[in-house]
Symmetry: C2
Subunit: 428 residues, 2 copies
């Protein structure tokens, strides 16, 4: 077992890799009541084309299958996973993102029993023709519900405006048409490929005892006799550097237009500490422009062009990178004119030195706040780990971050040709 000490955070992280390839990370937090356990596979909605280990030809699977599989994992031949967790006072959940699927529980007691339940249900698929058909109805309803949601529609409008070919432009749940094509067999192909322990990571935070816990997991895995598996080859299409469409529009019954805009990252392809640096430099830059204490935010707010819900996010990985910024506005055109004038100035002159310092400190504070929350730690740790980055290095990266780096980042990111604007407009 490897032990890493983070002096500044006063935290320790334990690491073990089992024979079947499963990686285990444990951050003991004995002073916490809550334990949080996540069992994740590096498998999300963008993994639509890949070579099944042992085969030669790539396969293309129906859109939305990773999310579909997540749903099906909760079904058991006998009984119900939620009841198994409830019996020992735990709550369980799961979510599927662009590039990972996570199963989790939180509990204050009976950590061993709950951990066994977590490992066992995720490693025991129960698929029948009937239960796959039934799920299509349930997920179809979920898809329709998101279709009603103006925020979700404007968000995917940005991704569809930015990306021409990359599967990140496709809704995580797929479409009614794509999920109709899902069968028990394709689900099992995906399961065998991506739910192999060598593609998975177990992260535990809370009052866990490291030695004992690793032994419990190792014994559980040894009983299952899972043979090793080669690397998974994922195939992604070529993606041009400019945005696919400068403007996307849809009409829904809303009273106030939603206006989101975003930029495609011209050079993604980062991982490890470079990825952390790129995300944090972008975050600091965005905070100087779009947080509630920013001059630009206040100018727009005082003109009544934006409201408190104005927000932003940024994500980058090996295969894609993008920002999504915006909210409600009574006048999308005027809003975008002012913002684009300001972003052109930022590309030229950078952000104010004083704002940079304030935002950098604010982000250090936010990170430290997050370290109080098992949920926050668990969610971020695995996502960065799958990108070869150590989330706990964030504070060091922020401390070493320079004004110059943020200015460079903003100049690089705010490329007009890589921009799209996505509008949801009232339909009357």
């Amino acid at each position: 077992m490897r032990e890493t000490q983070y002096d500044q955070l006063q935290e320790k992280l334990y690491y073990e890799k089992l024979e079947n390839g499963l990686q285990i990370y444990i951050m003991p937090k004995p002073e916490f009541n809550q334990a949080f356990a996540t069992f994740s596979t590096k498998y999300g909605s963008i993994d639509r084309e890949f070579v099944v280990p042992g085969q030669n030809e790539p396969v293309i699977v129906p859109d939305g299958i990773a999310h579909f599989l997540e749903h099906k994992m909760f079904e058991e031949e006998e009984g119900d996973v939620f009841q198994d967790f409830a019996k020992y006072g735990a709550s369980a959940n799961a979510f599927t993102s662009f590039d990972m699927t996570t199963y989790l529980f939180s509990a204050t007691d009976h950590l061993k029993e709950n951990l066994e339940t977590l490992l066992d249900f995720v490693q025991r698929p129960y698929l029948t023709d009937e239960n796959v058909e039934k799920e299509k109805g349930i997920i179809g309803q979920e898809i329709q519900m998101y279709d009603d949601n103006p925020d979700w529609r404007s968000y995917f409008g940005v991704l569809q405006g930015l990306f021409k070919n990359h599967p990140i432009r496709i809704d995580i749940a797929g479409t009614i048409e794509s999920i109709a094509k899902i069968t028990k067999e394709t689900l099992m192909d995906c399961y065998k490929t991506f739910y192999h322990p060598s593609n998975m990571l177990l992260f535990l935070v809370g009052p866990f005892e490291p030695e004992e816990t690793v032994k419990l997991v190792a014994d559980n895995q040894a009983r299952k006799k899972i043979s090793p598996q080669g690397e998974i080859k994922r195939i992604f299409p070529e993606e041009p550097t400019e945005a696919a469409h400068p403007r996307m529009e849809v009409k829904l019954s809303v009273s106030i237009p939603r206006c989101l805009f975003g930029f495609k990252e011209v050079n993604p392809g980062v991982s490890g500490r470079d990825l952390l640096l790129r995300e944090l430099a972008t975050a600091v830059g965005f905070d100087t422009l779009f947080s509630r204490s920013a001059d630009l935010f206040n100018r727009l707010f005082n003109e009544g062009l934006i409201d408190k819900g104005f927000s932003w996010e940024y994500e980058v990985s090996e295969a894609y990178g993008f920002s999504v910024i915006g909210g409600n506005t009574k006048d999308p055109d005027r809003l975008m004119t002012i913002i684009n004038e300001e972003l052109a100035k930022v590309r030229q002159n950078g952000v104010a030195k004083e704002s940079f310092e304030t935002s950098r400190k604010k982000l250090i504070g936010k990170f430290l706040e997050g370290m109080d929350s098992p949920r926050y730690i668990a969610r971020n740790f695995t996502s960065y780990r799958f990108k070869d980055a150590d989330f706990f290095d964030s504070i060091k990266v922020l401390e070493e971050l320079t004004h110059e780096q943020v200015n460079q980042r903003m100049a690089e990111h705010f490329e007009p040709k890589a921009q799209t604007v996505s509008l949801v407009l009232p339909n009357s």
Copy 2:
């Protein structure tokens, strides 16, 4: 300063009441990075009729004025409150509910400076005819946005279905028409009445040193020379025991109907430990019926009648009490038929003993988990304190809770005459 020790939680709570009436509660959490400070007034959307201390006649103020005042408090004669907080690495926010308005910051550093900023901006209204007019546009936009939201509409559909007269049936933000009537003068009347320190509470959780912090607050308040104020007389209308309307319906452009139902509490009028007992007995009962491990939930889920978003809430106070339960469904009528059959059985036979035990333990776990989160603690503590209840007693109340009490609670609450169903249906 009074000190209370909660042995089971291994927490201490410090209390002081200042001469001007302000109550201060501090829960030191030296092991936490994050500090969370809330400054709250017992004043929310339901306080529409009251006697201003020193006057004789009651006044009725426009709907939505508490929320309007919350918005205006962030405006300063010079500069911007968010910048003052950002300078010291803090994030600020505020919210208005039915019966309280809370201003808060979270920070990991410069707690003294941020605390002074919080106290000063909330105690320094800056209202002009111009800035009040301008705010009507901003809030009007917010109201329209909520009007688009099927979840919000179905939620207030329940409250309007349940309550005939009580102002809880009115949207917290008011309406475009009601906020048009708000003036600088009515805002100041409300401010003087409800923002007097004797109607307010400061709650701090995180790495605060109690003695030092109380001295800082006392000095800050002494400088402001605020004279004492008599009690505020609030006036609420009579409310019948049965629901105002058995069914509420609205059409919006949704693909899946929303179906929420709820019950009006026939006998609210509880406070203190009785209130805590009533809320927790209801919560345990609802968990046995509507959580993801419940038989009823699973039956409805497997029939495709509900999805994962099915949820419930319950609230009771001196003046009102109600539940709101439900989510999306493809068949509201069939859903309500099955649920009402089941609830009739529960009134007769109670909930299963084993489910009661599981849910009770689960809620104890949830409470302990929450104790790890300054945000969760702060949000709940003040709300209960304003109802003379001690949130930290929750665990004791849960431990002493009996199966019989939960069964009685369910029999009392699920009164068919006090039920309403609120539907948001597709408009095509």
